[in-house]
Symmetry: C2
Subunit: 261 residues, 2 copies
């Protein structure tokens, strides 16, 4: 039975895609079969995992568009391999603004991701969904299909303020479509030791959200930015970097919690 985790926060640039790619790669590195699903029309996770447009057969756009059944052959055609053995991706194959608008409309089929989950359960240990920087149907559909959500929190006042808005959306989904949705945790990202903004953000987040905030923080690490230029997760780009260690630690903590359950 796969565990499905959404990485979501309507605040932009907080490290959602960086977390989806590198947490996914950390699970894969530890030997767990992992799938990343990229539902952001910008296709950032697909780009960050080195996929080229020409290699992409089908993807999230087709999952929402398909009228017939979601059979095995179709779903397999949406799954693409990456530079890591245990890591696959279903890309968000949207290339023009017309298609993007179409995807937004089709995303009202909120149960789509839940439907394909049944097939994927047998094949993967972890499924990670990278969400776009807004709250519409794409993100709601992802949360409806998820066991839990990781909320990246970049240091800063605007990110803190955005958390309250997101918590309201999560509660609405827990009251309606998916009462089993848990908050895996709030993950402090892009942390710079010793700066006022980061100290204040961490203090406030731990005061308000208490044990919901992961002990582990993802430090600001240039290797995480450089890895993306090379289309690789940081564990392959620079296995000794602090970014790599932090995401491996995060994966280990989540795996440990799952085994206890």
């Amino acid at each position: 039975m796969a565990k499905v985790i959404s990485i979501a926060n309507p605040k932009g640039g907080v490290g959602k895609t960086t977390t989806a790619i590198n947490l996914g790669a950390s699970f894969a590195y530890a030997g767990y079969k992992t799938l990343v699903i990229d539902i952001d029309p910008s296709g950032a996770a697909s780009i960050g995992l080195g996929l080229n447009k020409e290699e992409i057969r089908q993807g999230v756009y087709d999952i929402y568009k398909r009228q017939d059944g979601l059979d095995v052959d179709f779903i397999e055609d949406c799954i693409h391999s990456t530079s890591m053995d245990n890591l696959h991706i279903i890309p968000c194959n949207v290339w023009a603004s017309e298609q993007e608008e179409e995807l937004f409309l089709m995303a009202s089929k909120l149960a789509r991701l839940r439907l394909i989950r049944n097939y994927l359960n047998k094949k993967y240990h972890y499924i990670i969904i990278d969400c776009p920087p807004f709250v519409g149907n794409l993100t709601v559909g992802a949360l409806a299909a998820s066991d839990s959500i990781i909320i990246p929190l970049q240091c800063g006042y605007l990110s803190l303020k955005a958390l309250n808005r997101l918590m309201k959306v999560i509660r609405k989904i827990q009251d309606g479509m998916n009462y089993g949705l848990k908050i895996e945790g709030i993950l402090i990202t892009l942390y710079e030791y010793g700066t006022n903004v980061c100290i204040k953000t961490e203090n406030e987040a731990r005061m308000v959200f208490k044990e919901m905030v992961f002990d582990i923080k993802i430090p600001k690490n240039v290797k995480l930015g450089e890895a993306v230029f090379n289309g690789k997760p940081v564990v392959l780009y620079d296995s000794k970097s602090v970014g790599t260690k932090a995401y491996l630690q995060l994966a280990a903590e989540i795996v440990e919690r799952d085994q206890v359950l």
Copy 2:
């Protein structure tokens, strides 16, 4: 006649709100009557300029909702003052996800912002629209009402890749709703001298987009992050900081270009 500039980029966290607030404050500091319009449902620009929910009378939500004429008294009721004399704001007064969904639907009235522009022309020299991190009707409506667009570009591979997507949207608007829309410039933000990611980003942006890229870069400056915690533009928070200097320089360059026209 006011000049209307949209700050837009669907890539999240690139410094749109930081630019809207601080470019606006720089125009105001130089004596130009300036209005910021916050069309991002997260309300980041309103928060960053220190507005409290209790003080807000009406705003962008009401502009889209109003059935009757957009008369003088109504528009004045949407305009709020800030901690600076020449700087006003029309906040995005959306507090619940139901209202947010409603705003998305109402935003199909793409000419709304153009309608209120006629009234605002007489009152302001500069009007700056802070856009949300996606491409939907809110941003399209803003671009339809604008003279030009500033595109903040954070250093990084994903931001570079997102530029092509944005340029397609801009061309579509130039071919349709607003053939007069110009690109004021691509503004490199959060620049950290000497890092590979920033050097590569600047080189690639200047190679591909040439003189479209501002000479001025906005450096990464902790004072810009701290100012937001205090609900103030950086020019009021720390007038000697490099962040303040960079945005004052940007404002001066735009004013100079406008006078030459």
